[in-house]
């Protein structure tokens, strides 16, 4: 009588540990620590941007916002592994990845400030916009991957979502077809241990989220999500497999959400300060800095210069956001249909007139 789960080994990838020590031969791109500076810079930018965005929300100048504090290595590592023609399908917590892909800070602020123009990215024009309904982007990724394959484009789709998203049927249906049809997709699970107040262990009895791939006959592995080198390397390999052999992979990036779910949340209601403090030890930004310092690729002066530069970049973007004109009332009609019906024009007139009357 069987009475336990089938044995199964899920690989776990890590190159740099919590104190910046190398635990495994570094991949090519990381052997010269100077190469890591752009990653460090991007993580820092993400962190400062998040902090300032939360500040804007607190002072009534931005809507609800989802910070990625502590998870910066996931977004940055994933995006750094991608090529331009790969397609990113992000959740609402992937500003690290989006900024790397070329979405501007002003665009992100517009979006979170309540203006659709924020999703009309100037760069990364094939990337998907932020996806709010959890997990619904997984099947888009399968569709995008099919189109890329069909059109002979040497590229893959990368969907990123949280640990909570792995409970949605969409995840499974999408994984399954990438196996059955051999589609070039990488599913990145940004496992920050919490889905609002529901912990990873309450979300599923599976020992890893990566093992959910077994259901679809695709690959699954875990990576230390606070080690940007490991994230980049693991996703690069998954992308190679996707592009060259049409084998899809679930990459579970194990990390931790160091702050509230969003600005509308109060995490102290459901988790202890001790738990959070403990995880500050593993956070990705300091870890990478430590590694670069250990390897004489980074100095306090570098840090100071970077901080200054990043702060001013973010400030400039915020100013541009705050200075941007309000969207026109009529714009809510202008992109609904390419060929709008006549009846919509009347409704548009009515709304535009009403808005004008209001001042």
């Amino acid at each position: 009588m069987v009475s336990r789960e089938p044995e199964l080994e899920i690989p776990f990838h890590r190159f740099i540990d919590e104190v910046g020590q190398v635990v495994q031969k570094l991949p090519g791109f990381a052997t010269d620590p100077q190469n890591l500076v752009p990653l460090y810079r991007a993580m820092m930018l993400t962190r400062v941007f998040d902090e300032r965005a939360v500040g804007l929300q607190r002072t009534g100048r931005l809507g609800t916002y989802a910070s990625s504090l502590g998870q910066e290595a996931v977004g940055v590592g994933v995006a750094a592994a991608m090529r331009d023609q790969d397609v990113l399908l992000p959740s609402f917590r992937e500003q690290g990845a989006m900024l790397w892909r070329g979405v501007s800070m002003k665009e992100l602020l517009l979006y979170w400030g309540g203006d659709e123009r924020g999703s009309d990215f100037t760069k990364a024009r094939s990337d998907f916009p932020i996806c709010i309904p959890v997990g619904t982007q997984f099947s888009h990724a399968a569709g995008v991957a099919f189109a890329l394959k069909q059109q002979g484009v040497d590229a893959a789709a990368v969907a990123v979502a949280g640990d909570g998203a792995t409970s949605k049927g969409d995840f499974y249906e999408a994984m399954n077809i990438t196996g059955a049809w051999r589609l070039p997709v990488v599913f990145v699970i940004n496992n920050n241990q919490w889905a609002i107040s529901v912990s990873r262990t309450k979300q599923t009895a599976a020992r890893s989220l990566a093992q959910k791939s077994v259901a679809a006959g695709i690959l699954g592995l875990q990576v230390d999500g606070n080690d940007v080198v490991a994230v980049k390397q693991t996703v690069s390999e998954a992308l190679e497999r996707a592009r060259h052999s049409c084998v899809a992979t679930v990459v579970e990036a194990v990390t931790y959400r160091l702050t509230d779910h969003t600005t509308a949340d109060d995490a102290s209601r459901y988790r202890s300060d001790e738990e959070v403090s403990k995880h500050w030890q593993y956070e990705p930004v300091r870890r990478l800095r430590q590694f670069m310092e250990n390897n004489h690729a980074w100095s306090s002066a570098d840090e100071e210069a970077l901080q200054k530069q990043v702060a001013s970049e973010v400030e400039t973007a915020i100013q541009a956001y705050l200075d941007s004109d309000a969207p026109a009332a009529g714009s809510m009609f202008d992109y609904l249909y390419k060929n709008p019906p006549k009846s919509l024009a009347n409704q548009r007139d009515h709304i535009v007139t009403r808005a004008a009357d209001d001042g």
Binding site: G63, T64, F92, Y111, W112, G113, G114, D115, E116, I132, P133, V134, G135, G164, A165, S167, K168, G169, A195, I196, S197, V198, K202, Q203, T204, A264, D265, R269, Y270, A326, P327, A329, S331, M332, F333, L336, S343, L344, Q347, R348, H350, I351, R354, A355, D358
Partner: protein
């Protein structure tokens, strides 16, 4: 007792139902220790324990489907969908099973379940957090769709919904969640479903509405009154099964009707009311029926939300227009 707002009234009704009936269980995302993202389930976890206040995995279709199974097997699940924008995966279960189990089995099995969800705009929330798609659900026979418009009606109707032997979707207008606190007696008395509430009497024009638009209608009625126009306000409250008689009686009296809803115009539930009047109330009409609704487009993000939402201004305008007919 202090005055309470609508979220607190929902909380009070849930606590009362849990207290009264051991078969009631509450489930959903973050309804446990977190007390729900709007705090509608606050305190219930500590009071009723983890066997009755259940944090589910993030899976709306599952929440609905599990509720069907629980209900058929003797429980009374009251689940929360975090926002109506995430209710769509539940439609399969509502349409195919919850609304049909009694009929399909000729009464052998039944489905006493409630799905609660905050709906509607007005709080500058992110995308998918402001929709009003009640009409989609009101088109499913066998399902009740109930919408309260004040703390006391939230309390009484939620109790009715939980006690009803059939499935109810209970939609809570989030714009009213923290507005208009009032005294609510925790008397365990349910309010009637399957009919609405005449909230204000008037002879000149009927304002037929529900949810957050009840508030706008009151504001409009106040303005109209200063102009000598007395509006009757009907809170439809139960969209399905819809009670045509109440609306028709009002229109018979006033001869004029403005239907107001937050939902987009085409195929909104206001159309059912308009059509009902065209069929059975035509002879009472002194003027055309008017609908004041959101336009037929996607709810815009926060910056344009207020342009999208109908308000007292449009209701006043519509009612005034109708008074021009005589």
């Amino acid at each position: 007792m202090a005055e309470i707002n609508m979220v607190q009234a929902v909380n009070l009704a849930l606590a009362r139902a849990l207290e009264d009936d051991p078969s009631v269980v509450v489930l959903g995302e973050d309804v446990g220790i977190n007390g729900g993202v709007f705090r509608a389930t606050e305190g219930l976890y500590n009071r009723f324990g983890q066997d009755r206040i259940l944090d589910t995995p993030l899976a709306e279709a599952l929440i609905a489907g599990m509720s069907v199974g629980m209900a058929a097997a003797g429980l009374r699940p009251v689940s929360e969908i975090q926002f109506m924008g995430f209710i769509y995966p539940t439609i399969d279960q509502l349409e195919c099973h919850a609304s049909r189990l009694r009929n399909r089995t000729r009464g052998r099995l039944s489905c006493p379940m409630v799905i609660r969800a905050p709906y509607g705009g007005g709080v500058h929330a992110p995308e998918h957090h402001s929709e009003s798609r009640e009409a989609m659900l009101a088109h499913i026979p066998g399902l009740r769709v109930v919408i309260p418009s004040s703390p006391s009606r939230a309390y009484g109707l939620l109790l009715a919904a939980i006690r009803d032997p059939d499935p109810v979707v209970f939609l809570e207008p989030k714009k009213l969640y923290r507005a208009n606190a009032e005294h609510v007696e925790d008397d365990g008395i349910a309010l009637p479903m399957d009919t609405g509430f005449v909230l204000r009497e008037g002879d000149d024009v009927s304002l037929v509405t529900w949810g957050a638009m009840v508030q706008e209608s009151f504001a409009a009625a106040a303005t109209l009154s200063t102009r000598g126009i007395e509006a009757e306000i009907i809170d439809v409250s139960t969209l399905n099964p819809f009670d045509p008689e109440q609306v028709l009686a009002s229109v018979e009296k006033t001869g004029r009707c403005v239907i107001i809803h937050e939902a987009v115009r085409t195929g909104g539930f206001g159309s059912e009311i308009g059509a009902t009047i065209a069929e059975h109330g035509l002879m009472s009409l002194l003027a055309p029926v008017k609908r004041v609704t959101a336009p037929d487009t996607v709810v815009p993000l926060a910056k344009l939300e207020s342009c999208f939402m109908p308000g007292a201004d449009s209701i006043v305008q519509a009612a005034t227009d109708l008074m021009a007919y005589s």
